[in-house]
Symmetry: C2
Subunit: 384 residues, 2 copies
DNA sequence: CGATTTAATCCACTTTATGGACTTAATATG
DNA sequence: CATATTAAGTCCATAAAGTGGATTAAATCG
């Protein structure tokens, strides 16, 4: 239900609107903010004052909007004070990053750990160490951490990791194990949001993150689509061929069996992605054909996805990012031939600029976006 | 962007919250409304007064909330004044209905017309006639029509019907042809909303409307998912078998080629749905097998849909409604065997109670839901 | 240098919601 | 049966927040 608006929540909401517009429209004068938001100059001035006091925006010199008249003093987001911690647990590494309010990446840590062999408690204690180091260093730079989000490779329900098969986790309650409060979310979801906020994609796309599994996050109008239970986006188990090879999910002919990292390497007869890349660059026939077949399977699955979810563009990330030159064309041709008549335009297929960092960045970005949407609570905490 | 809140829009929003709660919680006292919404009794009383004056709610006798104390006077939505017009153009009929604020269906008209042979102008003039008759009769009952929505069998963009292949329409601008203002929307979308508001399904489901084409509308959290360009939900062209029979969309092995009305009748060797039903009831082997194969194909497509969109339940409507007894099991078995390991529970497969009326009802319901979400504008119009 | 234009602030005012006091209408209790 | 208790609904003075016009500030133009 939409909540009732009271005087304080009216102010909270309008603060969010103003701060959001500052983010969207870069350095901008108070007068222009008033114009855009529909609030009066008086109101905007008061709010900008409060936001400056809270260290969220800062004046950034004069700015001429028109030709004549007094120039305005522009205000912009300030990265001096507020920041967020993004964390990620994946199969073979842990990572953390600190991002400030302007979405500038201030700190970044990655640590190679084999989490398949470690218990959840061990992994989380490693992570906690990493997080504490990041928070300490951020404090040293004068940043205050507004919150943190943790990306895990599997579906999440509240503070519970329902299942992360590649980690060997089942029903792990993370909030109990980590020594400070974190939000939890699926790695594929956060990677999509990372792409939205740190990549150069517009606000409507399907982000495909090919790892050992193949996940996807759909962003529509700048918002992540999660489905009824938060389990949407399992592109890896879309049916490519109903009588294809059996999949660990219980089905047959899932995309993962054609274009998942393991399937791809098996088809190429190789042991790792670096080798595969080397073979591809050398023009080795078997590897090229393996990629082509994977690309075609991806094209079939994406055809179904486009019909069902109508994404604006499609961004390939994860392993598909380095393999993009060899996967793009077969996938795109498959989609074009299948989608042609129904749509004016087949969604563009692009490559992620972020690669493996997308989820960690998205995790931090989510906290920042919450702060920007609701600066009121962060104003209140710094007040007497 | 979220819009800034001002004093008048605060009131507008709170009016919507109060009216929405009246709808949700049936007959309810002012005191309980205040409790739920978080507004004060004073504020709620004033608003309820305004809503009564506008004819949107009415007092409905005493109601005891607790054991002791003064009993409250309950208020509930009133169907006396405000109503909406729902319209539908389909291949072989036109229909119209008038629904009041309580979502009670007050009037219903259906007219068999072969719209394939008629030009858009002819069809729309028939429709206009039908609509005028409905509006006149509604006026006679003291209803004032707050707006109307028209369901068309094809994708829609603003006031433009992009393409309705089964009608032979291309880029028809409906707002120019009909003599009064109507909203436009896709038939599959409105059928899903009809199921939401007039059926007995909870707020998360995928509504599959099997006609000659197979469409689907996804409702998550009581909101229709439309995708980036409003083209989401084309379940009929999800790939069931990548090398299957060619489809009119340019692809191969689309669901429509297995479970569309035409494909199904062809497989059974029959000419119409009534005959097919008769044969099924008689236990005729060919028809039973045709349905089983269609159900299995539907199960495959729905497997992909569930992985991608994570619907709560799945509701089968359109032709699939009468065929449900013969289609449900093969579809559900296919889904269960394929989805089993990944999900705690496979989405339930249920049947629509509404059948062919879903879209027309959804069209009227959409107008009503807009009124309930924003009663302010309807208050203002009746004021000096 | 004064006129004009635009930015930002100041201040009296309006709108809306609040919260406690009051009235009303039931049941519970002695 | 009279009185206490409880809860619903209304009244009214007050507070919070935004409005809009006046004012001051800082540029350009002629």
């Amino acid at each position: 239900m939409t909540q009732a608006v009271r005087h304080d929540s009216m102010r909270a909401r309008n603060l969010g609107v103003v701060l959001g517009e500052v983010r969207r429209s870069g350095p901008i004068t108070r007068a222009a903010l008033a114009e855009i938001t529909g609030l009066t100059k008086t109101t905007v001035s008061k709010m900008v004052g409060d936001l400056i006091e809270a260290g969220m925006v800062a004046e950034s010199g004069a700015l001429r909007d028109g030709e004549r008249g007094r120039p305005g003093t522009a205000v912009a987001l300030s990265g001096r004070r507020v920041a967020a911690l993004g964390l990620e647990i994946n199969v073979d590494y842990l990572s953390a990053c600190v991002v400030d309010l302007t979405l500038a990446v201030r700190l970044r840590y990655t640590q190679a750990v084999d989490n398949r062999r470690a218990s959840p408690v061990e992994t989380l204690s490693h992570l906690e160490e990493l997080a504490h180091r990041a928070v300490e260093e951020a404090r040293g730079e004068g940043l205050s951490i507004a919150g943190s989000t943790l990306a895990v490779p599997g579906p999440v329900d509240g503070g519970l990791v329902h299942a992360a098969p590649n980690l060997g986790w089942h029903d792990v309650r993370v909030s109990d194990l980590l020594g400070f409060p974190v939000e939890l979310d699926n790695e594929a979801n956060l990677a999509a949001l990372g792409e939205l906020w740190f990549g150069s994609v517009p606000g409507d796309f399907l982000h495909v993150s090919g790892e050992i599994g193949v996940g996807a996050g759909l962003v529509v109008g700048g918002t992540l689509f999660r489905g009824a239970r938060g389990l949407a986006g399992e592109l890896g188990h879309v049916v490519v061929s109903p009588d294809g090879p059996a999949c660990r999910c219980g089905g047959r002919g899932c995309l993962e069996q054609y274009a998942g990292q393991d399937a791809l390497l098996r088809a190429a007869g190789l042991a790792g992605v670096p080798e595969l890349l080397a073979h591809l660059q050398a023009g080795e026939r078997g590897s090229l054909e393996a990629c082509q077949r994977a690309g075609q399977a991806l094209g079939v699955a994406l055809t179904s996805a486009v019909h069902l979810m109508d994404p604006g563009t499609i961004v390939l990330g994860g392993v598909f990012a380095p393999l993009f030159p060899w996967i793009r064309d077969p996938a795109h041709e498959t989609m074009t031939s299948r989608l042609g008549v129904m749509r004016r335009a087949v969604p563009e297929l692009t490559v992620s600029r972020l690669g493996g960092d997308a989820a960690t960045l998205g995790a931090a970005g989510q906290v920042i976006h919450r702060v920007i949407a609701n600066p009121w609570s962060h104003l209140a905490t710094t007040r007497p």
